[in-house]
Symmetry: D2
Amino acid sequence: MRTAEQYIASLRERSLELWVDGERVADPTAHPKVRPAIEAVAATYEVAHEAEYAALATAHSDIIDAPVNRFTHLFREPDDLVKKVELQRVLGRRTGTCFQRCVGMDGLNALFIATWEAQGTFHERFVRWMAGVQTRDEVVCGAMTDAKGDRSLRPAAQPDAYLRVVERRDDGVVLRGAKIHQTGAANSHQILVMPGMAMRPGEEDFVIAAAMPVETPGVTMIVGRQPSDERKGGPDAGNVRYAGQEVVVLFRDVFVPNERVFLDGREDGHLQAAATLVDAFAGFHRASYGGCKPGNLDVLIGATALVAKEHGVRKASHVRDKLIEMTHLSETVHGLGLAASNKSTRHDAGVWQVDKVLANVCKHNVTRLPYEIVRLAEDLAGGLMATMPSLADLDHPEYGEALRSVVGSETRAKTLRLIEAMSYGAQAVPLRIECMHGAGSPQAQRIVLEREIDWAARMNAARRLAGLPEQ
Amino acid sequence: MRTAEQYIASLRERSLELWVDGERVADPTAHPKVRPAIEAVAATYEVAHEAEYAALATAHSDIIDAPVNRFTHLFREPDDLVKKVELQRVLGRRTGTCFQRCVGMDGLNALFIATWEAQGTFHERFVRWMAGVQTRDEVVCGAMTDAKGDRSLRPAAQPDAYLRVVERRDDGVVLRGAKIHQTGAANSHQILVMPGMAMRPGEEDFVIAAAMPVETPGVTMIVGRQPSDERKGGPDAGNVRYAGQEVVVLFRDVFVPNERVFLDGREDGHLQAAATLVDAFAGFHRASYGGCKPGNLDVLIGATALVAKEHGVRKASHVRDKLIEMTHLSETVHGLGLAASNKSTRHDAGVWQVDKVLANVCKHNVTRLPYEIVRLAEDLAGGLMATMPSLADLDHPEYGEALRSVVGSETRAKTLRLIEAMSYGAQAVPLRIECMHGAGSPQAQRIVLEREIDWAARMNAARRLAGLPEQ
Amino acid sequence: MRTAEQYIASLRERSLELWVDGERVADPTAHPKVRPAIEAVAATYEVAHEAEYAALATAHSDIIDAPVNRFTHLFREPDDLVKKVELQRVLGRRTGTCFQRCVGMDGLNALFIATWEAQGTFHERFVRWMAGVQTRDEVVCGAMTDAKGDRSLRPAAQPDAYLRVVERRDDGVVLRGAKIHQTGAANSHQILVMPGMAMRPGEEDFVIAAAMPVETPGVTMIVGRQPSDERKGGPDAGNVRYAGQEVVVLFRDVFVPNERVFLDGREDGHLQAAATLVDAFAGFHRASYGGCKPGNLDVLIGATALVAKEHGVRKASHVRDKLIEMTHLSETVHGLGLAASNKSTRHDAGVWQVDKVLANVCKHNVTRLPYEIVRLAEDLAGGLMATMPSLADLDHPEYGEALRSVVGSETRAKTLRLIEAMSYGAQAVPLRIECMHGAGSPQAQRIVLEREIDWAARMNAARRLAGLPEQ
Amino acid sequence: MRTAEQYIASLRERSLELWVDGERVADPTAHPKVRPAIEAVAATYEVAHEAEYAALATAHSDIIDAPVNRFTHLFREPDDLVKKVELQRVLGRRTGTCFQRCVGMDGLNALFIATWEAQGTFHERFVRWMAGVQTRDEVVCGAMTDAKGDRSLRPAAQPDAYLRVVERRDDGVVLRGAKIHQTGAANSHQILVMPGMAMRPGEEDFVIAAAMPVETPGVTMIVGRQPSDERKGGPDAGNVRYAGQEVVVLFRDVFVPNERVFLDGREDGHLQAAATLVDAFAGFHRASYGGCKPGNLDVLIGATALVAKEHGVRKASHVRDKLIEMTHLSETVHGLGLAASNKSTRHDAGVWQVDKVLANVCKHNVTRLPYEIVRLAEDLAGGLMATMPSLADLDHPEYGEALRSVVGSETRAKTLRLIEAMSYGAQAVPLRIECMHGAGSPQAQRIVLEREIDWAARMNAARRLAGLPEQ
């Protein structure tokens, strides 16, 4: 298994087409807007070599019969799902942001199931490719989300809004389009494209699951803007080391050879397998948020407690009460991530799947509770967080000293910057928008809940007690 | 293991001093205000004989080396805790109310731990008594809560507000005082008194754990008033079969022989063991609410869906949305009950304990989310629920027919009565006040959360990311 | 203007067909389930003769050129609307329940506008009748709500679910059907039937506004069941004097002479006038809840503070915090009732109308915030509220004394009964279901809000700031 | 009254010591980080010359007997308070941000009252100075908030954390220290320092109210960092024209002549007058948020509706429902601002004061409801908002065209940038932190509420209904 240093070095070896602020980036590891995101991914390598976390961060792969980083591992037993969530919490707390490797992990597992259902040689192809990922301990960018454009139109009415096959050759397929919200794409080795939603007959060309190295010709990555992203690497970054990353990945006629095509809508049963894929992925990934976000929130809660102490109000009853409330809400999310993982069932492919109801309940709470936690953090942080000049100004020859007496201790100033970053700064996308839209927007969870609940059983329970015949 | 019929028969054999509405009750099984609560307990016997639920409802006791009803069983492995929650959901759904046997079960386990910690012969005494409970498959009334009076005063300042030892004899102790909120006391065989809170040096006489048959001289039971309790047994009961029950149990100089005294504050280490007891019980019982209440809420949600159908609005988008929301909130609670149980740890006494943070988070959500579910039920039920005359009026010779055209179908009318009973009628105490105060009021959970959270770790996580040295 | 005593005496003079529990009631003022509701109405007469409240409770009518009770008065200036809300708060606080006279008042004003719009002689008829109401200071039962049955069907598909004209004679009309949720009907002098929703062409017979004395032949009243209604008049009533009342009023071929027919769907323009009526009434009545409910909640908040004091925890920080929260939420509702009233506009008929957006926002908050207030009351009340035996038991010769030491002071015991009654007892319908469904269920307010908001203006405000051309 | 152009020109005439990013700013009107905030203030001048808003935006001053901009006007009648709130909504909607002139207006009124109470010549001094402000139509920076440092310490223990008098001369006083959170300070003509909290005997030197031109020697302004502030003036600004501004104002031994000293703690009665000032200001300003923030939220709600339309989901039931909810919450706040203003009372000084309970209830809701509105905006905006590259990238020669097909219409792209700016970007401080901490943090409102509520009256109302004697 790679070390963090080896991982970072490996990124320099890629000839990636990456754009930031309109400029082509030669060495991502040296770019101030990219490096913090690389650091966050590197933490996933780091923990695998720490004795304290080895049991969480690594596992034995029966595919390559060797220890692997958990982020490349299959969920072979319920405990794998539980440990995933616990590992995510450790890393969420360590980095305070998104460490970008979960979509790949959850995607590997979902595609394992889907290709198994698709039968034929596709599953073998996939397992072969996956063995390589495990052996090389690679970061896989799980590329699902299409732009989708006008949601009232199907893909055929707006093909540019979806990734699709535009040419089929004997030796492979040519892909065109884009995937958006590609978390950590610029920091990965492989791209694993997958369909982002169930498709219907007639939409076969939009059903494609395939893998390619990030340096494949035609792959263009454009880093998304994030709030306060100019501060990265500077004194006001807030989180001094880590950050998340979102990328638009353009596929401009990218050729993928057959051995890395895992689902193809034109094959028998692959439309259905794609639906399985989307469903399985949603389950896995909705439970994942019960790990990483409570980890991020540990940082925010800790920062809030710290700044309250600096303000001299840590023991005020309303401050204690708000900190307890923040914790209560965060642990609610974490408990549900664990519950969904514990209450798992075995798919015949040999991968365990989370409880669908609980995974969706977990994620749905993630679209709400962290927002309230952030609100409470902003309450306890106080107004200074929002009106404080740059920390660089504290050393200004003209007014630095006077300003320091206003801002107070270095601990207060730096901690406020961290809370700011997490509430509405450079970490707001990982802490807010990922919570809201990651693994599906709130309404997606409600749709699953409505579908999964056995309404008839509940109505009959009521009928019995009301003295009515069951139906 | 007893059947439901045997259980009910066994209640008639007791010479219980029970008062309802100021009248002494000769046969509780025939009293309209008591019988529905007996039926709810009987359901715990019933499921133990149903093939579908045998794995949940029964277990093998290593104490008597025989199968026992789970309600008399120890939590010998994590799965026992998980199954407890799942069984509670089954029974909560079946009865739509409190089935009254959980305090006893959770109390047995807590006292097993506490007496083990107290060492000496008390643990053996307890296990011996417990073997009898298992063998006879008895209902144990776990009697913890004292009246407490003015919360700003300690017991010594208001002894009548607490159960205490008033006389010590060679062969036993004499108890005086009362226990309140005694769920199901009138339907039990044994009373197991336990201290309701940690006591301090000087308060030794208030630390007493002991067991006695319900017919022990000096034990007086007075059934509490519940909303709409006159309706029980009549056409407007709502829940046609089951109900909960709360009892004030007076101990008017009750003698308990030594072999049934399990903790005594005057013994070395028993003050501390009592604190352990309270703490262990709170953990077990706070997770229990993640089972029974989602079960009750299944009924309420089903009834709401049913009445929406009768109103012709089941498919209206806001109706579907509210039903989904009700489910989301209920499953949140259930997931946390499961999570607290899964993430358990083994006590050296050989009993597994729930995760304290998650159990408290579970219960704390129970003090909130069911209230919102009830609010949504009242929304979808519509005003007729609150203004409808008695169902008996539907058969009135003068106006019954006209009234039926107002009230609509029998399904609508009876289902509305059920929702009414659960929202603010005869089932409101089980569904509201138990949710709020059972296993401790909301503030009790917040105190535990504040105590259990590792604030320093969170603050250090923040310090690292803010670029500050750890402390 | 009548005194409270005169009002009560006047009720005995009516030959009303009133049924309670299947029995015909000879003298409503002597019936334990009816008298408390009469007392609440009587309070509206009482305040009119108190110097402190004269300015709120009375007004000068330009119709009869004499002082009248405000409950029979028109909203002739914005201040009339404001004073209405303030008067409602006074009475809500005094009675702790619904005083049943607001639907009539709001209905009079709405029908004044609607008949004015309908033009012709109907408006004159109405004003003539209204002059009599003012002169005799009568209670008007504003009868709007039809049973509605299956909401997916129109009236013609289920005529029994709506009040309608079944025969037209030269001298009047014959009405058949029912009105439900008739608050205080049994305590009124006049019934003013009005259409409960806008009707369409072809549904003319369902559009009828007309008045009749309560003793008109064919009018049958059946009192609805309410939670814990058997306790009324007994030691556990909670509210020792007042209560609300809901009645089903059957119209079994009731003849109304033309001079008391105010809207008739078969007349030109009356379909439209009926829509105006429903809309105007909804506005008035949705603001009314900003008066009475904060008044009721004053009682609940006071009771909660009182019981916290008795528990010895009044100064605990979480108790203070919850009491503040209860107040914050209640005053939110009250402020919105005032705002809707202040921001009123004059209808050409000479009656001022509330701001529609704010009135709906007021009522919509009423469907939520009181529920949270009740939840907090149940929190602070503690479990004893739910498990306490009857207050009659405190005097029981066998165990009364022992029980008193459990229950504590008389203040605690009686206050708990009051909180119980308001939370889920005999006052729960006024405090819960009226809040939820009175003046329209929550969804009705959302529909109005969506319709009234100027979305285009908001979208253009956004366009300007986003640098886009307005549309 | 000045025009917007005259106002902007006037700013160039000041010789202000202003620092941004460590650099001294020569012409604030030309600085990309300052200009947008100037534009927002300019809007307050602009509306005063628009026929549509003249009645709201101007008033007749009895001090100078001439029309004045309302932002320099006294609240001479209740309608002045109502119009203030309505004007604030107009400007909040026009600018989408903070227009920075309210603290000055509310401060003028509060100081008018406080100096009147202080009696003597100070009131005359103040009125004379205020006449100049009105005549010249100046922007007044109301400077209240001290840094406060450790809240558990009083000012004397940390003098640097408070503005105070360090020298008293015959002709005036010398001030040292700082005021923070100085909204719009860099865009004002005058600074009006006022004590930020009630002081105690011994703290007289911290009680100082005085005015000075912004160019007074020793006044140093440092602009605070705001999220995404580097984007201002660029393609990703979101709000293309307006922004808020927060400034730290250092007072480095600033001399103020006596004629501009309005309160001085060493004068008799001024400690008490300062408490009056703080209290009066809090009331005025807490109601102000019921105007500006609903105006800002109109923009956010409009932008959300617009983007939903672009996504093709505007008519989806959950989208409509969330937009209604956003509106409901925003109008709740607005209604309370109006209610607090309408229910005002006249101070003997001749200024009307808002209802204290309702003003605090208004502001307290502002600390919560906008957060939920923002959450819903983020829900409906979708993930693209957070992951979209710079709008400049849409014109990139290499990949601009491909990117445009991903991002969709210009309307979608620009509207998302606006929502981003308001949710967690350059407008987040005005929309979040001002809502939270402006005019006092949430706990401050709770303290006032607890103090202002007549608990005894509520407890007696409960006592009466519970059958207990009043106390």
